[in-house]
């Protein structure tokens, strides 16, 4: 272990990753703003769904644009490695803040980006091929500790492996759900389309997807299988981006997986770019080793150990909850569970009070359609919304309002049923990390992990 921690390797892979990742995030941010999503998702809605414990994280009105500007600029600074340390901290803070504003827009790949940003704050990704390294000879180093690069590789492997483990369940493997529902929806795409009419295709995709997720991280790590594995990353992610609306995610993964390639490959990229930009040789492939100053080394290593222990355990927290994970979604987020469910829901809320006042709520008076759609299938959001309604009607003439919901949720092709009993007053329930005993039992079993 000690020998491993003292092992040094080329700084090139981390430097290239920093540049591409920063660039990708900067483009993502511009795309997000250009598509009008800041307005649509963070400024127009009347209410938001913060994460439990992070209720203080809220959109900032028109200033939200400034937040995105800060995020985009810090991503760009990270990319070029200028004031890298400060930029990386600002990038992590601003990106994570954005993701915590409304759980409606929660996506696993945003979480992944947040985690990468977190690690980058501590890593010497600017030791080479950066503006900082060019301006500061003492920072410049061609060699960095090997664990700095391996940490990113481990995170990528974990993402894939956990996504694969999550697929080891009876719906995915034995019923080919939800792919057997989703694929026929794409039966009009050229060439591959007709294949999607056959359930065999859904089975093949399910099994291959599962084996792919479980194995690709290790195949990327292994020198001999790497070219195959990387080709499969490209094909797999492009195929999924063709079939499903998943935005920038495929490109983030395609770029991130380059971290597995050897130093020579990355050095070649650096050399090409440098000669195109006419950069001086000694700035781009410096000699020397990067040393963490003083106490920084044990601190960073300690943080990383805690980080990975947490990452390994956290996705399994669902085991602490009774009832079916897909139904209650307790412990579902932040666990690399991707594309596992076709879940649709319908909720109609009624607010009453002791004086006989009664109001059937039109959800669109309070929520956007996206918020309504997400809320309708996720118990914690149903509860948050019930509290929004309780507070709203309390301020509008109701005395101690009671909030009831007529809910109907369908999961992976099962006929819909109530997620919450219609006679349960949600105004009295409160959020916690404990099991929500008011969720109607699933009364079916999805076997597996």
């Amino acid at each position: 272990m000690r020998a491993y921690l003292q092992k040094y390797t080329s700084a090139a892979p981390l430097a290239v990753f920093r540049a591409l990742f920063g660039l990708m995030l900067a483009i993502s941010t511009v795309r997000f703003v250009a598509l009008g999503w800041v307005q649509e998702l963070y400024i127009s809605p009347r209410f938001f769904f913060p994460f439990y414990g992070f209720e203080f994280v809220k959109p900032l009105g028109e200033w939200t644009y400034l937040l995105f500007a800060i995020c985009g600029i810090s991503a760009l600074l990270v990319a070029i490695g200028w004031h890298y340390r400060v930029a990386a901290v600002v990038l992590f803070m601003s990106f994570t803040y954005i993701e915590l504003m409304d759980k409606t827009t929660y996506l696993n790949h945003y979480y992944f980006v947040s985690l990468l940003c977190f690690l980058l704050m501590f890593l010497p990704a600017h030791a080479a091929f950066s503006v900082d390294a060019r301006r500061n000879a003492r920072l410049r180093a061609g060699q960095i500790p090997a664990w700095c690069i391996d940490a990113l590789r481990v995170l990528v492997c974990m993402l894939y492996a956990y996504a694969g483990i999550a697929k080891l369940n009876s719906d995915w493997l034995l019923e080919a759900l939800p792919l057997r529902i989703w694929l026929p929806a794409k039966n009009d795409v050229p060439i591959l389309g007709p294949l999607f009419n056959h359930v065999e295709t859904a089975y093949a995709f399910s099994w291959i997807g599962c084996i792919y997720d479980l194995s690709v991280g290790f195949l990327l790590w292994n020198r001999r299988t790497r070219p195959f594995a990387y080709a499969s990353v490209v094909v797999f992610h492009l195929l999924t981006s063709l079939l499903f609306p998943i935005g920038m995610f495929p490109y983030v993964m395609i770029v991130t997986a380059l971290i597995f390639f050897p130093a020579a490959f990355h050095q070649k990229i650096i050399d090409r770019v440098s000669s195109a930009l006419k950069l001086r040789r000694e700035h781009i492939s410096p000699g020397g080793r990067y040393y963490f100053p003083g106490l920084a080394l044990p601190m960073v290593q300690g943080i990383f150990v805690l980080f990975f222990v947490f990452q390994i355990i956290f996705p399994f927290r669902y085991l602490l909850y009774s009832d079916e994970l897909f139904w209650t979604e307790e412990g579902y987020r932040f666990s690399w569970r991707v594309m596992l469910m076709e879940k649709a829901g319908y909720t109609q809320f009624t607010v009453t009070d002791a004086t006989g006042k009664r109001q059937v709520v039109n959800n669109n008076d309070f929520l956007t359609r996206l918020q309504e759609k997400m809320m309708s299938t996720q118990p914690d959001m149903i509860l948050q919304y019930a509290h929004i309604l309780r507070d709203h009607y309390a301020a509008h003439g109701f005395t101690a309002p009671q909030v009831y919901v007529d809910s109907y949720v369908a999961l992976n092709g099962r006929t819909g049923k109530p997620l919450v009993a219609p006679d349960l007053d949600l105004a009295k329930e409160s959020e916690s990390f404990r099991h929500k005993s008011w969720i109607t039992p699933f009364k079916d079993e999805i076997k597996g992990l």
Binding site: T225, P245, V338, Y346, Y408, G416
Partner: protein, 374 residues
């Protein structure tokens, strides 16, 4: 082990690429072919239904001209009968709130009720009033005509007096003509587009993303059942929705009274028939939403029952409740409101199945932002 995986992956991607080289040797499964379904629905139901409505509408138009030329008991009676027939035929096309119908928001100008009496009065006093803004929706269409031919007086003599001896008689007659002319023009646009370029657009935009035909159609249909059949005809008048207070004056065809149930039955039947792909003229079942759902294999995993059968069973229960009502829904709200609420409740169950089970099985969602599916 690793070699095994590498081999497996290679086989998979070779498989994919060889699949790409020879485009679909197997015949396209017809039941899941959305272009076939869309063509069938458009040619066998939508266009013939508009044609049938147009015939009734033209008849109403002719009778209205006879009435405005010479308002008397006979022309009024003929106009009323033609109005009721056209109103019933309208129920068979109102559900097509997608494509040209949605583009021209024809429903807003044909059937927003309760009608706005003060607005109508203001409009006929000012022939230049704008009939294209949202505020004017409730002052035109069938509900406005309802008021103008059934609600202007206590009896026919009193109503006719409003068109003959009253100070504003000429203005009222002019307003009747103005409303019908406007409806005729809108209907002409909608049917013209269905028979023109839109037919091709409809049958070729076969995706399921936002803006594709099936998605627009299913969204429009679910909305229609939820808001315009369940809520509009039952939930709101009975007070089953909102604050629980009955509003009998909000029934459809409030002034004619006796046709309100008939209108609701027609709307419900048209909806069920459309779901089952029944030809608008011959009634013969064909390719439609039911066959598409069946081809997708949508069924309840607990008992294997086809989703389309479950939906039809719920439609039947709702129809049963609806058929048991008396012909005047205004009276039903006043004296037998629980039956109205029961009808609403059964329709509510159908709404859930359409909105959740059906759209989920079809993989139709209302999304406008990136979504990784979790």
């Amino acid at each position: 082990m690793k070699k095994y995986f590498a081999l497996l992956l290679t086989v998979f991607f070779l498989g994919c690429s060889s699949g790409s080289e020879k485009p679909g040797p197997q015949p396209v499964d017809e039941g899941q072919d959305r272009s076939v379904m869309l063509k069938s629905l458009a040619e066998r139901i939508i266009v013939p239904s508009y044609d049938q409505f147009k015939t009734k509408f033209d008849d109403m138009n002719a009778k209205s001209k006879a009435f405005t030329a010479k308002p008397d008991a006979q022309t009024l009676a003929a106009f009323r009968a033609a109005w009721a027939d056209a109103y019933i035929a309208w129920q068979h096309v109102e559900l097509f709130d997608f494509g040209p119908g949605e583009k021209h928001t024809i429903r807003n100008f044909f059937n927003i009720y309760p009608t706005n009496v003060a607005g109508i009065t203001a409009n006929y006093s000012d022939p230049a009033s704008n009939l294209e803004v949202p505020a004017s929706y409730a002052t035109q269409g069938f509900p406005a005509l309802d008021y103008l031919i059934n609600g202007l007086g206590a009896d026919d003599t009193a109503i006719l007096a409003q068109y003959t001896s009253d100070r504003d008689a000429a203005r009222r007659l002019a307003y009747v003509t103005r409303i019908i002319t406007r409806m005729e023009s809108l209907l002409g646009k909608v049917t013209g587009e269905w028979k023109g370029d839109y037919m091709n657009t409809f049958t070729t935009k076969t995706g399921l993303d936002i803006g594709s035909s099936t998605s627009l159609m299913v969204n429009g249909l679910v909305l229609h059942y939820e808001r315009y059949i369940r809520s509009g005809k039952f939930g709101i008048p009975s007070g089953a929705m909102a604050n629980g207070i009955p509003s009998p004056d909000k029934v459809e065809a409030f002034y004619a009274k006796n046709i309100s149930k008939n209108l609701a039955q027609s709307a419900h039947k048209a909806y069920v028939d459309f779901f089952n792909g029944k030809h608008a003229v011959t009634g013969e079942a064909g390719t439609g939403l039911k066959t598409y759902l069946d081809a997708l294999g949508a069924k309840d995993s607990s008992n294997g029952k086809l989703l389309s059968e479950s939906i039809n069973a719920q439609f039947t229960v709702a129809t049963g409740k609806l058929d048991a009502l008396k012909s005047n829904l205004y009276d039903e709200v006043k004296t037998n409101n629980q039956a109205m609420k029961d009808t609403y409740n059964e329709m509510q169950k159908a709404v859930r199945m359409l909105k959740v089970d059906m759209t989920s099985a079809m993989s139709i969602t209302i999304t406008y932002t990136d979504n990784d599916g979790d």
